[in-house]
Symmetry: C2
Subunit: 186 residues, 2 copies
Amino acid sequence: MDKRKRILESALKLFVEFGFHATPTSKIAKEAGIANGTLFYFFPTKDDLVIALYLDIKSQMMANAALEIENKTTLKEVLKDYYSASLNWAIKHKTKFRFIEQFTNSPYLNKIAEEEIQAHIQPIYKLLKQGIKNRVIQKLDIDMIFAMLSGHTFSINQYIITKDFSKNKQAKVIDDTFELLWKMLT
Amino acid sequence: MDKRKRILESALKLFVEFGFHATPTSKIAKEAGIANGTLFYFFPTKDDLVIALYLDIKSQMMANAALEIENKTTLKEVLKDYYSASLNWAIKHKTKFRFIEQFTNSPYLNKIAEEEIQAHIQPIYKLLKQGIKNRVIQKLDIDMIFAMLSGHTFSINQYIITKDFSKNKQAKVIDDTFELLWKMLT
DNA sequence: GTCTATACACCGATAGAC
DNA sequence: GTCTATCGGTGTATAGAC
């Protein structure tokens, strides 16, 4: 039940394994256990499906990170929680992370409105700006700082995923790498 | 003349704009100014073309970075030259960089032998290992350090590309971000 | 809403002349 | 080596019954 959801789940799995175009809608329908035509009842075109999946996962990521920002005092604490939350989410939802990765580095990204992308990263921008103003983060171009933050997060995530660490070790790596990042930015 | 080269160039341009699968071989041939069948004389299948293009660009990247390693004294100097060389190459060859980006984050990557990938990154690994041994770089897992190095390089590159800086400003950003990276790793 | 059946466009790859 | 012509397979999307 909830066939829409089943379609999204099957599409996610197959897209990550074979890529967007190498995955026919017929296979997605089969994997979801529904008829071919039913897919087009929920998503008028294949592109609509791909984009809906992207927006769906992106909003899950945001919801996850937003929760963690509450009730923290220092900027370092807030940023660290944001960092851990992002990494832990990605570790827990590897396939979703891989999809975002693939989507972001494909021409599909151009089909998403710029504002849509901006909305997702705005909370961190605010945090960083505040940090610069309070002289705890280095006075550098905000986009540059953001680039370093996201680049770091992204690559550490890939590092953790490939290594298959224990939960404890994972937590330690997240701690250690955050300290390194913090050292660089302050 | 050299139709093989023309095919690779046209493929590069179209792949980056539309993606691998959304680019038919017929369009590549048309863009290259050759007949449809001629493409398959040089590349038996479309996959062969994609992979040949990847290997071609990768070897260009390696040749570029290798030149810069010679005749340097300290590790910091060597690493900085490697860093600058990589970034300057990517800035100069945006389309090629975008292709590598797209390819690396696609299921195509699985079609490349692991050794092939390893060969490309080995020189940096050697450098980093030496740095750890000599106690100039922090004693951390080498893969973790490599992840931070490449993640940093990658994201700073995207930052520079989106900004459209002057040559001078570009050089300054490269300098500054390397110092930050160095600060983090040592 | 969901299914089956199918239209029809398109693309990768081949055949064969030159 | 390079071209033209074309085939066979496949994939998106629709039509229409239930």
